[in-house]
Amino acid sequence: MDPFFSAPSSPLFMDRETAAALRQILVAHCHDADATCAALIEESGTVCAQAGDDSLNDHGETAALAAGAYHAVRETARRLGESAFEGLSHEGRHKHFHLGPVDSRFLLLTVFSNDTRLALVRACSTRSAARLRDCLAAQPPPPPPRATASPLARHRLNAEEVLGTTDFFRER
């Protein structure tokens, strides 16, 4: 089986130091690749760190689409018998982007303009991805799961007990 698809993911706890370190790597990446913005995106489409201009300052729509496109193209390649996946890029008239792998869970989005060459962005992405991987791996381990949670049926724990009848969302 493709190692990319082997392990189910677990919750991610990102402490302040890691968040700041990831952002620093992305700032350096934007500088080296001459990019307008860059983001570390988790497979669910969540932006975990970003640097550069505010192209990604929406409510998560762009990152979700980027993650979807990335995974769809990677799976297409796999089905066509190609297990290596170096990412994908789009070259438009003024704005271009590259999506490259960081590890099985994260990808690196780089947005750049006409002044930058794709080859440079690709090379920088490979280097920055390694730094991002190291930084994520250096995080202190997440807090251990609670000992009291039974391995099965734990979500059937009465939600009311913990959250009362909280409505997370109310219709207007």
Binding site: S44, A64, F168
Partner: protein, 204 residues
């Protein structure tokens, strides 16, 4: 899977609406989008065919209450119901923190409900997710249909294969039950997270 970011003080969960083809998954998201203040939600992104069938996914990010100082965010996705989109459905289901299974109350769709339910279990197995480890809300949608299957008959058809799930009834096009479904799943997901990870506070 949930992401807790100490710097931005945000906790993000991924919820996926899956279920029977044409049962109303996209209609659920459309209602939520229409009824939440625009400051608390994203645009509704739909990747659909010309005939409005979901092709890849729909996406809507919604923000909710503070949980002990952390702003809670939920990324809502729908998957395509059609069988020939199995591969894309599998991609979107990966890493979900909770699922809504939207079933169709139309009696003619009863076999499709079960086929989709079994297909979901195959997807979960392929993603190495045990269904018992994932909060699932079963939504009986289209309760407004004049010949809708009675609730007991719907329960019966899922009983043999389903664990005792939280069940909601809805009419997604008119909005009935849509927020109840979303709130039920959000509660399950947050309380499960709380039960597993001591860093999440007990009280809101």
């Amino acid at each position: 899977m949930a992401i807790l970011n100490d710097e931005s003080r945000e906790i993000t969960f991924k919820l996926v609406y899956t279920g029977t083809p044409m049962a109303g998954k996209t209609s659920n998201l459309a209602w939520i989008h229409q009824r939440l203040d625009s400051s608390a939600r994203s645009d509704l992104i739909t990747l659909a065919t010309m005939s409005d069938r979901t092709l890849f996914f729909d996406f809507l990010a919604v923000e909710s209450v503070l949980i002990n100082g952390y702003r809670s965010r939920f990324q809502l996705y729908t998957v395509p119901g059609q069988a020939n989109y199995n591969a894309t459905r599998q991609i979107v289901l990966r890493g979900a923190d909770g699922l809504v299974f939207v079933a169709d109350s139309d009696p003619r769709r009863a076999p499709d409900n079960l086929a989709a339910w079994h297909a979901l279990h195959q997807h979960l197995a392929a993603n190495r997710t045990h269904p018992d480890s994932l909060p699932i809300v079963l939504q009986y949608n289209k309760r407004d249909l004049p010949d809708a299957l009675p609730r007991a008959a719907m329960d019966q058809s899922f009983r043999s294969s389903a664990p005792p799930l939280t069940v909601t009834e809805a009419s997604a096009t008119s909005g009935t039950g849509v927020f109840n479904t979303l709130n039920s799943l959000a509660r399950l997901v947050v309380s499960r997270f709380h039960s597993l990870h001591s860093r999440v506070p007990a009280a809101l």
